[in-house]
Symmetry: D2
Subunit: 332 residues, 4 copies
C-alpha cells in the first residue's frame, strides 16, 4: 500500500517513520508548504519525493491512501480532495473544523467506498486498552464520573484555542471508554494572551448520572496528564506521566445502606488493596497505522472512523458555543 | 477570656484544645446534643462543664465568647442567640446557610459592638500566608488563573453537598488571595448516592480576565489538595499534602511579542529555576484563635470577620443556583 | 497492672499515653532527672506522681512493671535494679550498651521469672506485620537481599553514633523478617561534626547468600525511609513515608535457564503487575504495650524479649568494631 | 574527520548517530562480530561500510579515529591496535579490564601523540555540569559525603559483575566532582544467579573526612538513580529520573557551637529554602563527541582522557579485591 503524507511539522515525521516501518507499506510522497519542513523531510528520507504542494500527491495514481497531518482548518479541503480522487484518508484530530464538514466527508467516503480513520492515537496505547478492558469486565462497576486534567506550558496554537487543541485527546478517550453520548455540555474558560482561550474547563452530562470533566490549560508550570475514573465498585487513576504503574486500580468505594425505619441513609466507606496492572510497551501510532492498513485491506470499518471523529467535533462545537456564553448549558 | 464551645464532633476537640492552650483564656463549658460526644469531652476535659443543651452556655454571665462548631444549619440560631446575649462569636465555615442570615448576624454584631470571626483556618497556615506575600510583592505578576483540586473519599455529609462541604476552604483562600469579587459563577456536578452532589466543579469569573476553578469530589480514590496559580511573571503550585516543599514557585512564563508589520503574534516560552520557600511549622488554628482573642481585647475587626464569611456564602449560594440549572451563568 | 515510667523526654510521653489508655493498666509514677521534663509530665498528667529520682519507683511495692525510656547508657543499671526489685521491664531500644549487659539482664529475668520486652516498635506496625506475612507465605520466594535506607537531618545524639541511634530500627525489623542470624558484618562511616559517626553503611552476610545493607545518615537534606526486599519470585518496596500504599509488591523477577550444551546461562526478565496491599491503621506502640501486659498476665515470653534485643546489640557491637577498623569483616 | 566504530550492540548506534550528525565528521566503517548487529547497522546506515572484523577498519589509512564500543575485555587489544595504527581512540567505560592495560594505552598514546577519550558520558550532561559549578562556586561549602544509588532490574552482563557494569558511572562522576583521590575502598556484595555479584555496595574514603558510598543492584524492582551530596553549607539531591527538577539544592545544615565552660557541643539545625536550578536540555553524548573531535583538532588533552579512565579502573580493581575478601579495607 502506498501513502502520501501531507504535513511534516511536529507529528508528520512520526507518521512517516511508522508507515515506513510497516511491511508492504511505503510512503511515496510528502508535501509541506514550509521550506524548512521540506528540508528536514528530505534529509531524513532521501528516497521519498518531497513537494510543496499536495495537489500532485492527491491526484497521483500510484498512491492508495493519504495522511492529512496539517492544521485543522485544512483538513476538510484536503480530505475531500483525497476522497474525490479515490484515496483512503487518515486524518489528524480534531477531524474537521465543524460537524457539517465531518458529515460531508463521511458521506463522501461511504459513497466512494473508502475508509476514513481519525488519528485518536491514545486509543491504541496500552493504558487506554487496559482501562477499556477493566470497564468492559465490570471491574469498576457502574460508572460515576470521568475527570481528566491535561495541563502544561504551551504549545500555543494560533488557529485554535486550548479546547480544540488539547481536549480532543480526552474527548476521544472518554467517547471510547464511556460508550455513551453526552446529553449536554458546559464549558468555561478565559484567554489571557492572544485572544484564544488558554485555560478551559468542560463538563459533560451523560445519561444515568455519569458526569465527565476536562481541565485543559496552556499556562500551567507543571505538566499533568491524570484521569480519575470513579465507579460503584472500584476507582482508578491513570497518570500517563508515570514511567511504570500508569494505571492504579483502587478497591475503594462507598456503600449506601438504609435500615427499615431509619430515615437517614448510612454511608459506609470501603478501603482495600491497590493494584497496578502490567502494561505492555507498545508504540500506539504503530498499532494504529497497522490497523488502518489492515482495515483497508480487509474492507473493515475502523472503530476510530469518521463517525468517531465527528462525535468529538460535535462535542467541541457544543463546548465552543457554551464557552462563548461563559458557560451556559448546550444540549447535543 | 472565657469561652463556651458548642459542638464536640470532629473539629470541636481541636477548638477546645487550642483555646485551652492560650494564655489567659479558658473554656468554661462545652455543649453537644450527642451523648457519646459529651462522654468523649468529659474524659478529655474532666475540669470543664459539659452540657447537652447550649442555652445555659449562651446565657452564662461568665462567658465572653462562644465558638459555634455545630452543623451549618444550626449556625444562624446559635450565633444570633449568642450575640443577643452579648457574646463574641467564633463560627465554623461556612458562616451561614444563606446570605440573608449572614447579613443579619453582621448587623446584629455591629449594633452590639461584638466581634464575629469565621473559621477560615487555612488563612492562618504558613502556606497561604506565604502565597499571600508572594502575590503582594508582585512575584507572580498580574494574575491569570487560580485552579484548585480538593478531592478524596468522603466524609459524606447528609445536610450539605460537596460544594458546601469542601469548597468553603477554597473560596475563603481564593477570596483572601485574589482580593477581588467574582462577577459570575458557573457550577456543575452530579449526585450518585444520597441526593446530595458528591462531585462538583465551579468556575468563577473575576474582573480583568482572572478566572478561578474549583474541583471538589467525595468519591476520589486518592486524596488531592493541589492549587495552581498562574501569573504573568511566574506560576506556583501549592500541594498541601507534601510534608516539605508545599509551595513551588516556577520562574516560567509566556511572552507575547508582535513585530511591526507581522500579523501573527509570537508566543515565547520562558523556563527558569524552581524555588520552594521554607515554611514555618505553625498550627494554623492556634494562630487563628490567638488572633481572635487579640481582636476582641483590642477591639479590632478580624480580617476573617462576618463579611469575609458572607462573601463565601454568597459564592456558595450562586454556585448552588447554577448547579441546580446544570451550569448556567449566575451573576453575583 | 501498675507501671512506673523512667524518662519523659521525646518518647516517654507516648509510652505514658498508651499505657494510660490500656484497660486495667495505670501509670503510678514517672521519673525524670530533667526539671523541664517533670514540668511537662505534671501538666499533662496531674494525677500521676512525678519524681526526679527513679529509686522510689523501682522499689515501690505497688508497681508491677517498669518502662525504661532513658538514654542507652542508663538501661543496664535501671533495668537491673528493676528486675532485682521484682519488676517486669519494658526497655527502649537498643537494649543495652553491650552484649554482656544484655546477657546479664536476660539471666536475671529468667532467674526471677520476670519478663523483659525491648521496644522494637516497628514490629507491631501494620507494614512489618504484612511483610512478615508475605515472607511466611512464600510470596517473595527465596530471599536475595534486604536493603534499607533511613536518612534525615538530625536528631544528633551526643552519646551514640548514627549506627546505634538509627540502625536498631532496621536491625530489629531485619532480624524479625529474615529469621536467621548473620554470619558477619562490615560497617563503614564517617564523623564530621562532634566525633560520632553521622553517616554510616552496614552490610550483613547471612547464610544462603542472603545479604542485608543498611544506610543511615543524620546529614541528609531529605527524609528517606525505604526498604527494598528482593526475592526469587517477587520483590517489594516498603516506603514508610507514604500515607497510603506503604508496601508495593512487584511481580518481577529474573530467571536463569541453561540449555544443554550451552555454556552461557540465559537470564530472562519477568515483569508483571504491582500490588499494594491494604494496611490497617493501627498505633504500633499501643499494640506492643497491650501485648506486653498480655505476656505478663499469661506468663508468655514476648517474641521481642531480651534475646531479640541482645541479637540487635550483638550486631551493633560487631558493626562498631568493623567501623573502628574502617570496614573490616567482623564475624558474629 | 573520519571515524571507524567497533561494536554495534546497545550503545554503538548512539555513537554512530551522534558522530554522523557532527559537522565535518563522518563514520566510514562499522565492525561487529554479530551478524544481527551488522544487519541492523546496514539497514540504518546503508551508506556506511559494515564489516565483521575490525582489522580493516583499524588499519585503514582513511580513518583518523576509532570508537571502541565493544565488551570490556576487548578494549585493550582493540585500542592498542588502533593506537599502533595511528588512530585516536574513543573507548567505552570502563576503560580497560585492569590498571596495567590502562597505563600501557596511556603511554602508547603519549608516545604516538594521539588522544584517548573514555566515554564518561554523564560528565557532559547538564546535571553533572550544574553540580560541578555549584561545588566550584562553594555553594555547598566543605564536602561531607557523596551517596549514590543506581539500581534497577537488569541488564545482566555475563562477563562483568554489577560493580564493573554500573559503578563506572558513579565513580567517573564522583571523580569529576570531588576532584580528589580516594585513599581506600571497601566493597561488599553478593551473587545470586550466575556467579557474578548482582548486588554490591562500595565505600570510598577520601582525605579530609569526605566519604563516598555507591549502591548498585541488578535485582531491584524499581529503578533508582539518586545521588545525595552533603556539604557544610548546603546539601543537594540529584534524581536523574525526574523529568524536570533533577537537582534540588537544600539550604539546610547543621552547626556545631561550643560555649566556654560547656562540655557538651551544641548542634543546631538550619532549615531554609529549596531551589531547583533550571537545566538545559542537551544530549550529553553529542556534546562529548563534539568535544572529542575538537580536542583532536586543537591538540588538547580531554579532561576525560585515559588518566581519568585509569582512575576509575583502579577504584574498580580495589573494589574487586575488597569484594573478594567480603569487605576488607583496600588502600589505593
Amino acid at each position: 500500500m502506498n501513502f502520501g503524507v501531507i504535513g511534516y511539522g511536529y507529528w508528520g515525521p512520526n507518521i512517516v517513520r511508522n508507515l515506513a516501518s510497516l511491511e508492504d507499506t511505503q510512503v511515496l510522497e510528502i508535501a509541506d508548504v514550509s521550506p524548512s519542513a521540506r528540508k528536514r523531510a528530505h534529509k531524513a528520507w532521501p528516497g521519498i519525493k518531497i513537494a510543496a504542494n499536495a495537489a500532485d500527491l492527491i491526484s497521483s495514481t500510484e498512491i492508495d491512501a493519504v495522511a492529512v497531518v496539517s492544521p485543522v482548518w485544512t483538513h476538510f479541503d484536503l480530505a475531500k480532495a483525497a476522497l474525490e480522487n479515490g484515496k483512503h484518508v487518515f486524518v489528524e484530530k480534531p477531524f474537521t473544523s465543524n460537524a457539517a464538514q465531518g458529515e460531508e466527508l463521511i458521506n463522501l467516503a461511504d459513497k466512494k467506498n473508502l475508509k476514513i480513520m481519525v488519528d485518536h492515537t491514545f486509543l491504541f496505547g496500552s493504558a487506554v486498552r487496559k482501562i477499556s478492558d477493566l470497564l468492559s469486565e465490570g471491574t469498576l462497576g457502574r460508572l460515576y464520573y470521568y475527570d481528566s486534567t491535561r495541563v502544561n506550558l504551551g504549545l500555543f496554537q494560533h488557529d485554535v484555542n486550548v479546547l480544540w487543541d488539547l481536549a480532543p485527546h480526552d474527548l476521544s478517550i472518554m467517547d471510547y471508554l464511556i460508550k455513551a453520548t453526552p446529553e449536554a455540555v458546559v464549558a468555561t474558560g478565559q484567554n489571557h494572551l492572544n485572544g484564544c482561550e488558554d485555560v478551559a474547563f468542560m463538563t459533560l452530562y451523560f445519561p444515568e448520572k455519569v458526569i465527565a470533566h476536562i481541565n485543559v490549560n496552556w499556562l500551567s508550570p507543571v505538566k499533568v496528564r491524570t484521569t480519575l475514573i470513579g465507579g460503584e465498585k472500584r476507582m482508578l487513576v491513570w497518570n500517563d506521566l508515570e514511567a511504570d504503574e500508569k494505571i492504579k486500580v483502587y478497591d475503594k468505594g462507598v456503600k449506601i445502606s438504609s435500615h427499615e425505619g431509619v430515615y437517614e441513609l448510612l454511608v459506609n466507606y470501603r478501603s482495600g488493596d491497590m493494584w497496578a496492572p502490567h502494561l505492555d510497551q507498545v508504540e500506539a501510532l504503530h498499532q494504529e497505522l497497522s490497523y488502518f492498513v489492515d482495515c483497508i485491506s480487509k474492507g473493515h470499518q475502523p472503530f476510530n472512523n469518521g463517525c468517531a471523529g465527528l462525535r468529538v467535533v460535535k462535542m467541541l462545537e457544543a463546548a465552543s458555543e457554551s464557552l462563548s456564553k461563559k458557560g451556559s448549558l448546550v444540549y447535543l
